[in-house]
């Protein structure tokens, strides 16, 4: 394996994940106020529907698909053992990929043309949207040109990713992949690296906890019973809100 492959498929992932971890933690702790989905629906709502909804639902499904193939490759391979099921999986993934592409193009168009949305656009928004566009384009091309990804991802790429996570990097298989796939992989690591510096951080604060919490929330500055108890020092009744 030559030096460039070594850098792209062994060095880069570790650099990317290191930046991701340090950057995210730093951003959340030091500038937590800025962690927001920064919705611009208030400024423009109609076009957003046709862009945001296909993009988000599409990317959710595509991401979960990649995640499943990474976590349980044997399950995916078992599913794909029947050609019809493999076809169903491929077509579904491709359809949601198209959905991502349509939404993403819509989002970029809206961001560049709507004068109000332009005012709340920063450079990183454009950068990340273009990176995602490259990623989606490469992904769709792979799905079309290098069939059947659902199977070879589970067979070849999943072990590679595991080798990265288990600190036993083994990139020979990847180094032999066609260009589009390499691009998709390298771009993915780049997205992970810039992740903490973009609006994508809202993924990390997705409100899953809403499902299990009671609707109403009351917060007390201090414990209302202990505060009247002369035996308790105030230091024991720390506020629960800061």
């Amino acid at each position: 394996m030559d030096a460039s492959n070594l850098f792209l498929f062994v060095g880069l992932p570790y650099i990317a994940f290191a930046i991701f971890l340090v950057g995210t933690i730093y951003r959340y702790r030091a500038t937590g106020f800025k962690v927001s989905s920064l919705s611009s629906q208030f400024l423009e709502g109609r076009a957003l529907f046709w862009a945001s909804v296909p993009f988000h639902f599409g990317i959710l499904v595509v991401f979960l698909g990649h995640l499943t193939a990474f976590l349980i490759p044997s399950g995916i391979l078992a599913w794909n053992s029947n050609p019809v099921r493999l076809l169903v999986l491929q077509v579904t993934a491709f359809a949601f990929g198209i959905s991502v592409l349509v939404g993403l193009v819509g989002l970029i168009y809206r961001r560049l043309t709507n004068p109000r949305v332009k005012m709340v656009t920063n450079n990183m928004d454009i950068v990340i949207e273009l990176m995602l566009l490259v990623q989606t384009g490469a992904g769709l091309y792979i799905g079309y040109a290098h069939r059947w990804g659902a199977s070879w991802f589970a067979a070849d790429l999943s072990p590679y990713l595991w080798s990265i996570f288990l600190f036993r990097p083994e990139a020979t298989a990847v180094a032999a992949m066609p260009f589009a796939i390499k691009l998709h992989i390298v771009n993915a690591f780049l997205i992970i690296a810039v992740f903490p510096f973009t609006r994508l951080v809202h993924i990390l604060v997705a409100p899953f906890h809403y499902i299990s919490r009671p609707y109403q929330r009351v917060i007390w500055n201090w414990d209302r019973n202990l505060v009247r108890n002369p035996a308790s020092a105030w230091t024991e009744t720390r506020p629960r809100n800061n």
Partner: protein
């Protein structure tokens, strides 16, 4: 019994002169920043009118508040766990800036720096979002004083139940009237915004019931904007955080009145503590429409009742708070005298700001001075030479409740979820006190009548004097009865004093800047 204290406000609508000083005081303190130019945490609306944002009371459009299901449970109309998370990528019920207005300023510099030319230089309006010239189509108080106008007053959602004839009568040229409705966050007991927030950023403070948005936890899922039926949670388009009225809690904690109240020219506002039973919230919010007002009022407990006091103390409520609850002007208006009502109780958020409905404006009727009419005449009534007069005698001034300038049905749609009887009771009380005071001061009402009207509405003479005092003569300390926060017990409150404007909710030192 889980007794909690709630800071609540009463607005005496008869006293509001519509000067918008409260709105300006609030704006200058809290919302003069980028991204919140359009936010009016306090605004004053002309009623009948469409309000701000336009037609906010129409929940068919905005889907705010709670709705009652067939089985007697309630759910958020446009948000909640299912709808909120399902619509998180695009909230179909989110009002956009068109429903408010695009904030604008004027290009004033052009007036002095324009090069010589054939035309007078002008200051064109420019958008405060894009900086481009815009045509101003809406602005704050756009429908101010525009009662009777087809676009505004006649589109008032509260008139939905009125027949065309009744509407017509409201806008007859000689009878046309309006009143003002100042609105801030209602600091509800069953707040829709809190329930709708996927991040859990919005919460009600236990000690005083103020509803706040933790700016550090807000992630711009923007469901609170939809869920608040009063549209008092606003989205800051610059920082990507929702913001709302904080009842000037930093001022309250230090013993100062909120800016809107402190600046009120008409002295229409009263701020006091009320004790309520938090165990009743869920049950009360789910009663049928017709019982809503009474159910909500019955949650508010008598602060003189020894049992209530004991339970309050057991719940950690300070003695000074209990004492304030006993002297509370809001408790008097809402419970003791039964004169104040919540705004739109049918939204089921149990709003804790109350309104004394307007009796005014009264208007002398124009009559011809002949026969019977003349015999009734007060010597001071003004007669014109053509024998027409403005009859200012008492009966003509106040007439009956049914002849009130604003139809009972209209007022009931605003304050009692359609219960006209409950509305009439309040109006009658206001009238009775006026007639009683008319006897005392002007003397053109006889004593027997004055006493009879008081008895009719179950007010004693002493109570009538109290109402009169608190309405007309009350000093600041009678209208504002709030104990300062107990800092001696809460050292925590002294932390994070580096609060900045824009950092609503609990403080933090980070600059509230837009994220990447």
């Amino acid at each position: 019994m889980d007794i909690r204290a709630q800071i609540s406000m009463v607005f005496h609508l008869d006293k509001c002169i519509g000067c918008h000083t409260c709105s300006i005081a609030c704006k200058n303190i809290w919302t003069d920043r980028k991204g919140v130019e359009y936010q009016w945490w306090n605004n004053v609306e002309t009623k009948p009118g469409t309000g701000y944002p336009s037609k906010w009371e129409n929940q068919d459009i905005y889907k705010g508040g709670w709705e009652r299901n067939q089985d007697g449970t309630i759910q958020l109309r446009g948000a909640g766990k299912g709808k909120g998370l399902g619509n998180i990528f695009h909230n179909p019920y989110l009002p956009t800036i068109e429903d408010y207005y695009e904030p604008f300023t004027y290009n004033y510099l052009n007036l002095i720096e324009a090069p010589p030319g054939d035309d007078q230089p002008t200051a064109r309006p420019v958008s405060m979002i894009t900086g481009e010239p815009i045509d101003v189509k809406m602005g704050p108080n756009w429908d101010d004083d525009l009662s009777g106008t087809p676009d505004y007053a006649r589109n008032d959602p509260n008139m939905a139940g009125l027949s065309p004839a009744e509407r017509q009568a409201m806008f007859e040229l000689e009878r046309l009237a309006f009143f003002y409705l100042p609105r801030i966050c209602n600091h509800c007991l069953n707040p829709g915004c809190v329930a709708s927030c996927p991040s859990g950023a919005i919460y009600k403070r236990g000690e005083d019931g103020i509803v706040l948005i933790n700016q550090k936890v807000c992630r711009a899922w923007r469901m609170c904007v939809t869920a608040c039926p009063y549209k008092k949670s606003y989205y800051n388009w610059h920082t990507g955080k929702s913001e709302k009225c904080i009842l000037c809690y930093p001022r309250l904690e230090a013993g100062y009145a909120p800016a809107c109240m402190h600046s009120c020219v008409g002295r229409i506002r009263y701020l006091g503590v009320m004790l309520y039973d938090a165990d009743q919230i869920e049950k009360t919010a789910a009663v049928p429409d017709s019982e809503l007002v009474n159910a909500q009022l019955s949650m508010i407990l008598d602060p003189f009742d020894p049992e209530v006091i004991q339970a309050a103390k057991a719940n950690g409520i300070a003695d000074s708070t209990i004492k304030a609850a006993q002297n509370s002007p809001t408790y008097k208006f809402v419970k003791t005298w039964g004169m104040a009502l919540p705004l739109h109780p049918e939204f089921r958020t149990l709003p804790m700001l109350f309104y004394v409905p307007p009796l005014l404006p009264v208007m002398a009727s124009v009559t011809e001075t002949d026969g019977a009419q003349k015999a009734k005449l007060n010597p001071i009534a003004k007669t014109w030479t053509d024998n027409w007069l403005y009859d200012t005698s008492t009966e003509e001034l106040w007439g009956t409740v049914e002849q009130a300038r604003f139809p009972l049905k209209y007022m009931a749609a605003m304050f009692t979820a359609g219960d006209e009887k409950a509305m009439a009771e309040r109006i009658k009380k206001l009238m009775a006190i006026r007639i009683y005071r008319r006897w005392k001061t002007v003397g053109d009402v006889d004593e027997a009548k004055a006493r009879k009207v008081l008895a009719d509405v179950n007010l004693t003479e002493l109570q009538a004097e109290d109402v009169y005092y608190l309405t007309s003569l009350a000093k600041f300390n009678d209208r504002f009865v709030i104990p300062p926060a107990h800092r001696e017990q809460a050292h925590e409150m002294l932390e994070f004093v580096g609060d900045r404007r824009g950092s609503t909710g609990f403080g933090f030192r980070e600059t509230p800047a837009r994220g990447m």
